[in-house]
Assembly symmetry: C2
Amino acid sequence: MSASLKLSTAVKAVHCLAQVYPDALSSAEISEMTGINASQLRLILSMLAKAGIIHSKQGAGGGFILNMTPDQINLQQLYCAIETQKAFHLAVNRNHDQIPVNKKINAFFLDLFEAIQRDIESKMETITLSDVIEKVKQ
Amino acid sequence: MSASLKLSTAVKAVHCLAQVYPDALSSAEISEMTGINASQLRLILSMLAKAGIIHSKQGAGGGFILNMTPDQINLQQLYCAIETQKAFHLAVNRNHDQIPVNKKINAFFLDLFEAIQRDIESKMETITLSDVIEKVKQ
DNA sequence: CCTAACTGTTGCAGTGAGTGTAACATTTAT
DNA sequence: ATAAATGTTACACTCACTGCAACAGTTAGG
């Protein structure tokens, strides 16, 4: 799953959790509400649980509960929690890295792409779940 | 080819052209210098030619010549010339757009991703081919 | 302690996109 | 004419992604 897709999945899930707080929702219930496959949701939600953003309760009567208030959760946190590959998928052709000029140009781009990545992350830091909830209400 | 890969290919090619300016280089010669497949180079270079960044001369003794000075060429121009898909590949799950909340959250993300895209492009506007040449010399 | 209801994780089939390359059409200098 | 280029299309191949299912692990409740 792409980073952006995972992020939007995560936001939809925590948005559901915010609606029923402080009650729990099972992955099946969130699947019902969002149309997203329950297995997929569990994958994402287990990562959010490891990051401490939500709490997961296994066993009968279990489910997922928000562990922070919506204004304490920002997109950067969600993104970090689910990130397995960077959002701006930064690829340079390393096939011919033995050519000195290529090596330098590749290094140049890797630096640039890292800078862009940082910009994206700091932008996402300014957006909270509260902001999303507000937008959905409008 | 991903946007970032195409961009680095384009930069390597125009970097070669800058070295020999005002002489021309054929795609075969650039392929020799960079290790990048000649067909691939022609694909990228023909797009740069359409954008007016380089000049292409068909026929015997032809090739590609820089059409601007290195300080007049910035990464944003190159990126625009070769762009077929946006760099930050912005995907939200539209599968379940009939659910009103999903529709709103998806719209929210599409707006966010467009803003990020604009940020990336304005950043690339500040970097010229001269800057790259300088970095390679170091 | 046994069952049912959950989460957590792995695996897998299908498909679709990206990669690298060749081939050929088109153009032009000599 | 011919040879040397660009411009464009097509194609085989791989490989990552998607969506889903299955099952292993965990826990509440009778």
